[in-house]
Subunit: 584 residues, 2 copies
Amino acid sequence: MRQRLLRYIPAIGWLRRYDRHALGNDVAAAALVTVIVIPQSLAFALLAGLPAEAGLYASILPCIFYAIFGTSNTLAVGPVALISLMSAAAVGDVATQGTAGFMIASIYLALLSGLILLVMGLLRLGFLSNFISHPVISGFITASGILIAASQMKYLMGIDVPGDNAVELALGFYRNMDETSFPTLALGLPALAFLYLMRDHLGPFLAQIKVSNRVSVILVRLGPVIAVVVATILVSWLNLAQQGIDVVGEVPAGLPPLALPQGSLELIQNLMVPAMLISIVTFVESVSLAHKLAARRHERIDPDQELLGLGTANIASAFSGGFAVAGGFSRSIINYDAGARTPAAGAFTAIGIGLITLFFTPLFSNLPKAVLAAAIIISVLSLVDFRAVRETWKYSRHDGAALVGTIGVTLVFGVIPGILTGIALSLILYLWRTSRPHSALVGRIRGSEAFRNIARHDVETDPRVLILRVDESLYFANARYLEDRVFTVIEEQPQLEEFILMCPAVNYIDASALDSLEAINGRLHDAGIRLHLSEVKGPVMDKLNQSRFLQGLNGDVFMTTYEAWCELRTKPANTDPGAVHPDS
Amino acid sequence: MRQRLLRYIPAIGWLRRYDRHALGNDVAAAALVTVIVIPQSLAFALLAGLPAEAGLYASILPCIFYAIFGTSNTLAVGPVALISLMSAAAVGDVATQGTAGFMIASIYLALLSGLILLVMGLLRLGFLSNFISHPVISGFITASGILIAASQMKYLMGIDVPGDNAVELALGFYRNMDETSFPTLALGLPALAFLYLMRDHLGPFLAQIKVSNRVSVILVRLGPVIAVVVATILVSWLNLAQQGIDVVGEVPAGLPPLALPQGSLELIQNLMVPAMLISIVTFVESVSLAHKLAARRHERIDPDQELLGLGTANIASAFSGGFAVAGGFSRSIINYDAGARTPAAGAFTAIGIGLITLFFTPLFSNLPKAVLAAAIIISVLSLVDFRAVRETWKYSRHDGAALVGTIGVTLVFGVIPGILTGIALSLILYLWRTSRPHSALVGRIRGSEAFRNIARHDVETDPRVLILRVDESLYFANARYLEDRVFTVIEEQPQLEEFILMCPAVNYIDASALDSLEAINGRLHDAGIRLHLSEVKGPVMDKLNQSRFLQGLNGDVFMTTYEAWCELRTKPANTDPGAVHPDS
């Protein structure tokens, strides 16, 4: 019982060892994270199509729940760009932005994702996230980064451009370009330039003047905070909101009520597929980030428990007026570099943001959206990684195709079709590859016990004995191919009497492949050819012993191919198959 | 050009060699097939929820198109039980049985399946059918057989029971049982008994009195024809239709018009998923049957070209008032045993059924539905294969679970969710298995060059050198697992300096696994451990050479594990890694 509690509520473990030293570190990290994530949280709420305060709400309770159930000491959860974009796209299909229905749908999307993550965690289904290959994730993130940057351009230009794919956005910009607000541009472009310089040149400069790396990372991340503060002061001072510069406007003060709005069954049905996709992306991204951070400090995380942490965080977000959350890259890096020791840092961040939501929201009313957009654009540019495209393509055409396909579909059709296509491409290309496994006819290297590819080496062969080596596990996707391959090679060899299937690379034979082996055995039998196996691995042999295949096999199973070769080759032609064993 | 024509229209090839001998055989086979498939075609139309004549229409043009584009000499296409049931279930979701909309939807379903098959054929996508494992197909067929038999019971009892899953059917029977028509039962039960005896006992009896196997097969298959003829005569003679016995009723004479009814875009969207599933089942079932028949005569078929044959057959069916068709087991067996030589036999069958549709439809009006139902029930019982369940379960829990899951979902939720679940289960269980590959720490068998599992053998080890053998290709589904496994084993071995990954069973390393190898390399580097590879296969090594992984590798790649062992083991501790090569 106690073990179970400890396993499901990691907080019990670290709270018992909690001391003043950890407290000091955690509070310091939380203070820094609070300041830095405020502009982010507001901006990602806008990206998700929601009022700015939703971003604050999504950074309070979720942090506390992740602190209780999560296993990473440094992962900080809250709104993140990728998930906010997916939320906007999914909810945009069932409701109109700006309506109450849109907010309700966003909340239900977070609730469903949370429940899915929770159930996956309780059933220990973390392995399901393995279904997406890295190139697909990388392509998806690159394309999403481009989409996010493109979608934020409208705030920089002060125009209205709807759409959640590159085609719609491009059309929208083309149509509405002449409505560009130049005051907005005059504020946004310098902000963009400033943020770009901060991100790309402040770090190297600080390194030159020997500022330590940890301090440098934090100073660089303060860029958006500085931009937001300066811009807000400018707008208030010069009364720019009257000049047509779009601002965040009044943000209600006070904590969100703990309640779930009324939703319909139809809404839940419509959001089910996007919620699944969002949970997968949330899990994959958060866990890979948590892994990286943990590895640096030689800590470990438990992926299945992470599902519970992320699941409860999303459910908490839904119950407190937030939207879908995940482990965020930049808030986690700050948390890590500022020296957070335990998940308590997350809880302290929640308290910090809670205080701000209670007392300081009036400060945000004059915050210009153009500057928030500039901050998003600069931050997502680091998601775009074309070098990975080139490298992946060079390494493997299949992986490269999956990556390019995912980027293409995401850009043209949007994030939901994009990630679906990516998952399908991962699987299809994998199955396609293993469905035509590498196989080679082999012969004996003269004077040795080794057998090599006939096409590549000068080897000894025998027209009555054929040896085929298959370099893949045998399973449903390649069972038919194996049959075809065997029948093709035996057709070309009319004198054939003994056929040896060499299995050193066969790690598994599933029931479909067993059917095919039986079919091959039957057909070879009809043709007067015996089927032998050689170098069958232990676990595979154990399985075969449980089936009736070996009883029906009209040849033998040999430990080594050389043994089979000696026995079958020295056998005089046309003898009784019962009297096969020679004296040699 | 000519090669292309020959490839896409196999009929050109065999027509040039066509002679009187083949003609005689084909016509004789076609005559027999025509007689035997008439009751079947009528019955499967009823099973698909359509008027009886649709079954005849679906046996005319499709046969001709398959004869032109198909590659099997003996496969006979037309309505088949499994596809008819799937068609009824899919169309039942969008239209009400007995309405014009139902017929239109059935036609569009055939059209869409045909187009999907055709496109798959033109793109040579036959390999996609490999995605369903044999156990899943076998479970699906068993469950469908049970569902078909259950759905036909209503005709035997003369009551109305709607529903396309076992739960609905059971409830329906329970509710309407008291309306059972005893005259119908009095006709149907003897027919059932007669057909059962014909199927199971006529063959052995004929074998005893030395009737040849070929003749015996044909006589056995004549059972339904005899039952139908006798029952029709009885009904006409005793005027049983007036006694409440349900008959086929008036079947319009004449060939169907060549036209496609008006359909809507919404209908097409709703039928898209079922059409895909029907095409996959059509293809898998027809091709596996064609393969078996071809193998017996040492002929070959071309699966990709079969897609064109089956696709055009379905499109032709849609344009002539039919419904979804496939290669039928019993009609093909008759065709084979009656000695069909070329696909022309199919075209002659089409002519035979055409003549019957033109001139003999009045004969069917008094055909009792109960006897058709009895014929279906007896014929589908052979689809139910519980032995396969037991054997598969015994051989592999995974395959067994996929099989049982498919049967369960098909029975409880119907055929469409059933086959979807089956496909998902095949893939998930496969990925789950390969996502936790077998791996073993190995040591050297004293005095040899062989390395074996430490847990199983008494082997020589070294606390500074660890060798891990992974028995699976490395790809996205197991990339994370590999990382975890490596970090776990190195944690347990504090003196470790050299880590060797032994790769004799690694047939492929995809981009995701390459990322993981890089992560492992980096993390081992941080821990002061070098990463080496041994026994990397040629094709895998070629790939690695195209990546930057080998430049970053902080250890070496060795041809054999023994070589690595000699070099790394004799290395004096704590020397410069640049001066590793010993003199030995």
